[in-house]
């Protein structure tokens, strides 16, 4: 290290080689992370795009087929089904869990009795494995025997195959995911609320503004950046979250609960068609990149503030 210190003090006198030495140090520090990032993020992205233009023959040779897989995809009803499902899944989960999260955050930010308990109750589902959550909720939805049907039984209603019916399966999953995620988004709102100046609310109270008016005209607008941030995260999540499908529905019945990533998983690892899975992944990458562009534009401004 003394050698290095000597080099650096020499370098300090010569700015040009100092810059050079800086760069060498920086790249050496980056190297380990860079190798892994390239191997498991950047290269796979490029390889996915490349493979989407090829098919793999039975003997393992790759054949260039151009846009053929994309044409096949455009004609694949399950792909469209998964995409539409993903849209409804996002629309079903995101606004509700964000609204609930905001409500929860406002509550646990107050001097309410049992605040610690409330915070704990709302946040706990967030730290559970999705696979465990799926197991627990699977039981609620089990026909006849499950909790939901037992409740229906009390009112004299017959059992219902909640997850086995295309018209109810997505709703069931949406409710479960809202339960799982609302507490997570609550945390972001809670952090934002704690950074708001209390003066504004006090001023509003002095002016005689109602609580609802204060929320609508002051608090909510001030929380807009958080809402945007949470929404973007929620959108990304809605494309990644498929663990529960493995346990609860396998995408069924009749693909009524298939989401894009789950379909990719099925195509690649059940049907062993990695070329078509690559084509499907490209769609997912395009969707995520669109979200990324929004997020980067937004994040950049945020970082600037600090």
């Amino acid at each position: 290290m003394t050698d290095q210190a000597a080099t650096m003090s020499v370098a300090a006198r010569r700015p040009k080689s100092h810059a050079w030495w800086n760069a060498v140090n920086a790249w050496l520090l980056l190297l380990p992370a860079a190798v892994l990032l390239i191997a498991f993020t950047h290269y796979p992205i490029l390889a996915t795009i490349r493979h989407s233009f090829f098919i793999t023959r039975r003997n393992g040779t790759e054949v260039f087929v151009g846009l053929e897989s994309y044409h096949a995809m455009a004609a694949d009803p399950i792909f469209w089904k998964a995409l539409v499902n993903n849209f409804w899944f996002a629309l079903g989960t995101i606004p509700t869990s964000i609204a609930l999260a905001l409500l929860m955050a406002i509550w646990v930010n107050r001097n309410m009795r049992g605040r610690g308990f409330l915070r704990l109750a709302f946040f706990t589902p967030t730290v559970l494995p999705m696979i465990a959550v799926a197991n627990i909720w699977l039981f609620f939805y089990t026909p006849d025997y499950g909790l939901l049907d037992q409740l229906r039984g009390v009112f004299g209603l017959a059992g219902w195959n909640w997850l086995g019916d295309p018209s109810t399966v997505m709703g069931c999953l949406v409710v479960m995911v809202i339960w799982k995620e609302a507490g997570f988004f609550m945390i972001f709102y809670l952090a934002a609320l704690q950074q708001l100046s209390p003066d504004l609310e006090e001023a509003a109270a002095v002016e005689g503004a109602s609580r609802w008016y204060t929320f609508r005209r002051i608090t909510f607008p001030l929380l807009m950046p958080t809402t945007l941030f949470v929404t973007i995260n929620a959108v990304i999540n809605s494309f990644k979250l498929v663990d529960h499908l493995v346990i609860m529905t396998k995408g069924g019945p009749n693909n009524a609960s298939t989401l894009l990533l789950y379909y990719i998983y099925e195509v690649a690892f059940t049907f062993q068609d990695s070329a078509y899975a690559a084509t499907l992944t490209v769609v997912l990458l395009v969707l995520l990149s669109a979200v990324a562009l929004i997020k980067f534009g937004y994040l950049d401004r945020r970082i600037h503030y600090q």
Binding site: A23, W27, P44, I131, N135, Y145
Partner: protein, 269 residues
């Protein structure tokens, strides 16, 4: 934000909280009572640990525990080291291409390894690591999130401390170890909690790259065990479910405040 609360609002908050806890309470109820009481909630139902014993006997949960702990430790250590080095490079060195390099790192925040399962599986296959614990860990060792979080923290380290260390003859790595790392402790705790809970819970990727008891983590073990077709009864499945989330849940209850604060810190910075 300490306005008074209307009693009706307090009641609503409590009702929602109870509703939120209900699924968990149910899981514990079912796991701790004989199968006959899985759906009949009678206060006189006898308590039992039988379900846990039977679940433990029917699947190698001991092995799954070890696998998960090893996995989580490997990932955490790898992430801490790699993120520290990379964050240091971004926070304290000016070099050509640093902006682009940082953008390329941040790309992983949006396109996580979870999405690239097909090509990552190919890559792990090429490396000959299929069905091993390192195969589960490798795609996650370089964490854009960790790099981002630590870079923000490192940037706030006072320049005077760095200068003082340099005057005493410390090299770049010594400065990192003696000045930056100790000052970033709260960030390390926050990142550690988020990372451990994420990888304890992770499922899809481990499901894909593992196919034997020797490498399977708890989540995958639970999925294999709890498939409804296997004919295992609910009480035993809920017992296994409780076992899978147990350690994390206990850690969460013990370090609740740190958990919440770490998620806050992680989210905001």
């Amino acid at each position: 934000m300490n306005g008074r609360t209307h009693p009706l609002e307090a009641i609503a908050a409590w009702l929602l909280a109870l509703l939120w806890l209900a699924p968990l309470v149910y899981a514990f109820w079912s796991a701790l009572h004989p199968a006959a009481y899985a759906t009949s909630f009678s206060l006189s139902a006898p308590w039992t640990l039988e379900n846990f014993a039977r679940a433990w006997d029917q699947a190698p949960f001991g092995r799954y525990y070890i696998n998960t702990v090893v996995l989580v430790v490997i990932i955490l250590i790898g992430q801490l080291i790699l993120s520290t080095l990379a964050a240091y490079a971004f926070a304290r060195f000016t070099f050509r291409g640093s902006g682009i390099a940082f953008a390329l790192v941040l790309l992983q925040l949006m396109i996580m390894p979870d999405v690239l399962i097909v090509e990552n599986y190919r890559m792990i296959g090429k490396l000959g690591l299929l069905d091993t614990i390192p195969a589960i860990a490798l795609p996650y060792l370089a964490s854009a999130f960790g790099i981002f979080l630590l870079r923000q923290t490192f940037k706030s380290v006072p320049q005077e401390l760095v200068e003082a260390a340099r005057v005493e003859g410390a090299g770049p790595l010594q400065i990192l170890w003696k000045v930056y790392v100790p000052l970033a402790r709260p960030t390390y705790v926050a990142f550690g909690l988020v990372s451990v809970s994420y990888h304890w819970n992770n499922f899809l990727w481990p499901l894909i790259v593992t196919n034997s008891v020797e490498s399977r983590p708890l989540t995958v073990g639970l999925a294999v065990f709890g498939a409804p077709e296997t004919g295992v009864d609910w009480s035993i499945i809920t017992a296994a479910t409780v076992m899978t989330m147990g350690p994390l849940l206990i850690a969460f209850l013990l370090f609740q405040r740190q958990f919440v604060q770490s998620f806050m810190r992680a989210g905001i910075r």
